[in-house]
Symmetry: C2
Subunit: 442 residues, 2 copies
């Protein structure tokens, strides 16, 4: 038997190809050529059939799909812990907006690098980001090697990034053109919300999304204030408002959906709208608890997002899974609600489906892109090990991730980042934080 040459073989004690304990392989390996998974199987088999330029074996390692974070504002990592435990408008008006008006592209770039470093170190391999100066977010993402969906947020008022609204469309156009054929970065269309975008802007961006075949990403029904404002202006709820405009569809990814009625859940399901559930942020800002179990029962695709680090205050998807699985049990007073396997699915394949990328990533399978992570299961808090999805949701945390691979490229090995200079990023951020602190005092 001749041995097939590949680029990378990762092996470990366990391999979880998806979200199901019954599919766990023991003493397993995955072989990668270029950006693609070529083989998955027993370690002995894979090593007998393949030779690889790079081989990484982890004794107590668990190989699994990388986590997919479907709602982030990466540069807001710069605001982590800047102000907490405040009423929403005080937080925004006194602390966040005064700094956001003085962002420079370089600050955005550096803050994005920080968030990317944190994401890779906590097991995320793909994310969907909506923020200002998104060219800089994309530039940082290119450097990191992560897979991302990135959009420039548009709203009715001038932006710190592009100025007058009309320039925003030009800015988006440049992004679409620049990343038209990028293997890792997809550009999205991102109206901020129904209370910050006129119906005309929402519709025009709907056309932009259609023209570019892009996702249409919006904050939707995040809190009661949004509902009240929308009802006052348009005599309907935010979900109804978007539906009247014909903007609920299978390429719509709605972040939050905390305040949705049963009828609206049915509508979201019917329109095949995807939801990004951001539980920790919704709790920290006291927005409420999205009816996720109802959504899942109605057939709505629910994925998981951390939201920005300013309202979380981290982007650790393991921590987010822990919260999601537990909160909905208490909310429903039902310990069987939101199982570990359901939650893990929302953070992996669910994320891929939300981004219409389930043929690309979200599970480990031959022919899919190699987006995977390896965890060190040889730790007190992960011992004993009866059920892997249970541990991933209820006990694991970002720091358990040893290696990360995106699109076949090794981004982290033994917790050392390979595409980013962690020490330099942290030093730069400490200096940027001093500037931000001064802004806050002006």
């Amino acid at each position: 038997m001749t041995s097939e040459q590949c680029d990378l073989i990762l092996s470990g004690k366990y391999l979880l190809p998806d979200n199901k304990q019954e599919n766990v392989l023991l003493d397993a390996a995955v072989a990668v050529t270029g950006d693609t998974i070529m083989a998955i199987g027993s370690k002995d088999d894979i090593l007998a059939r393949h030779t690889a330029r790079t081989r990484i074996h982890t004794d107590h390692g668990l190989i699994m799909p990388g986590l997919i974070n479907t709602h982030t504002h990466a540069p807001m990592a710069a605001f982590r812990g800047l102000a907490d435990d405040l009423p929403l408008m005080t937080w925004l008006e006194k602390h966040i907006f005064p700094v956001e008006t003085r962002w420079t592209p370089e600050m955005i770039y550096q803050s994005s690098l920080l968030s990317l470093a944190e994401m890779i170190k906590s097991g995320t391999t793909s994310f969907c980001d909506m923020y200002l100066f998104s060219k800089e977010v994309a530039r940082a993402t290119e450097k990191s090697g992560m897979r991302a969906w990135i959009g420039e947020v548009l709203y009715d008022f001038p932006s710190p990034c592009y100025g007058e609204l009309e320039n925003g469309f030009a800015y988006m156009e440049e992004l679409f053109q620049h990343y038209a054929d990028h293997p890792l970065i997809s550009i999205t269309t991102d109206p901020h919300a129904v209370y910050t975008c006129s119906p005309e802007l929402l519709s025009r961006l709907g056309q932009t999304a259609a023209d570019h075949n892009s996702l249409y990403i919006i904050h939707l029904a995040e809190n009661q204030a949004e509902i009240d404002t929308c009802r006052e202006r348009f005599s309907c709820s935010p979900v109804e408002h978007l539906d009247k405009l014909g903007l609920l569809g299978e390429k719509t990814l709605a972040a939050h959906c905390v305040m949705v009625t049963d009828a609206e859940i049915e509508l979201l399901a019917e329109r095949k709208v995807k939801v990004s559930h951001c539980q920790e942020s919704n709790m920290k800002l006291a927005s409420g608890t999205a009816p996720v179990v109802k959504m899942l029962n109605a057939g709505v695709l629910v994925s998981i997002g951390t939201d920005g680090a300013a309202s979380n205050n981290d982007v650790d998807m393991f921590g987010e899974m822990n919260t999601v699985a537990k909160v909905h049990k208490a909310a429903r007073m039902d310990p069987t609600a939101m199982t570990a396997e359901q939650t893990l699915s929302a953070a992996t394949l669910g994320g891929a489906e939300a981004l219409l990328a389930d043929k690309t990533c979200g599970t480990l399978a031959v022919g899919k892109k190699a987006d995977l992570i390896v965890l060190d299961m040889n730790q007190p808090h992960l011992t004993p090990l009866y059920n892997i999805p249970s541990h991933l949701v209820y006990a694991a945390r970002g720091a358990d991730v040893l290696h990360s691979v995106v699109n076949g490229q090794l981004l982290m090995e033994n917790r050392t980042l390979l595409t980013l200079d962690e020490a330099e990023i942290l030093d730069t951020m400490r200096s940027i934080a001093q500037t931000i602190s001064r802004y806050g005092k002006d």
Copy 2:
């Protein structure tokens, strides 16, 4: 100036003596002699005045009080992830009880070591444990060097540990005698709950606690089923039941208190009962959300517990703080509820107060016992750093803890356990888990 000899000097970039950002010291150190903190101050000052046998400097280190976990069942670490997402009675009757009846003292000892290793590695320095075979829990704790309050749980039916109830009192007596003068271990009196202990047993244990001047620790008002059972049997709520028996007092530590009315909260405050709030376990078992903000407003002392790893599924107090601070914001729809500083206090000084040990530990102060931890703040998820309590509650996790000191003894340095053999503990637990898995299939 002559230099004073001490045993240990820890220094770092930050020192947080309590829960308040305004009290943070920069470039600070703490000097320890024997079991006691001798000096706290600027690093330069401390080093000028003291020489030490052992010096540990951490460039980006944060020195802070060790966390205090006021409700654990340490040996249940052996059941971590054994069965999740099940109705309570299915979980107990099909998965937990069948194994508990076959516990051996050695299994308890080894499982306790696992939990101790996890606690030290995630920043806990003191804990309060209620379980079976508590002599073995105490023996493991002695080996670890942790500070602990440990009790043997008693209830009306025979125990896998001591058999008939009467033997339980003899077992407790031996514990009280053996640990009468122990510097780190205090024995507590632990009736299981009002639905598993007759009024006579509850009262007799009240007398035991009084005789030994011990804490009286009980699960109280954990869920609706407990309320219903108590009302059916005694025509009153669990809190009222204990009060009628004269068992609510300043040495009573009540775990859970999920289902308590406003009037009962007033009563708990008046009686100076201490509460151990176990939010993650309460969510995972779908018990509900304790009205913690109301309790704090009423003047009830609220501390934090993880409960056992079978219903959490970890004992990471950093994760627990994150959940506690966020859940109560959403529960109250108020982003200013349960601030980072309040939450951090509940996990440190609040724990010490719950255990009537606030003169011993809970803050860093000259003359107190040296129970402290050092975190590595030079990490993406802890950068930038505007406010330390915010990071500790909303972004830090157990894996950020580098060093741990209890009673002046170093228990962990650079994440290596010094009193416990981590590799051996993990290997032993994997073997015990195989036995437990077999029991589950019988």
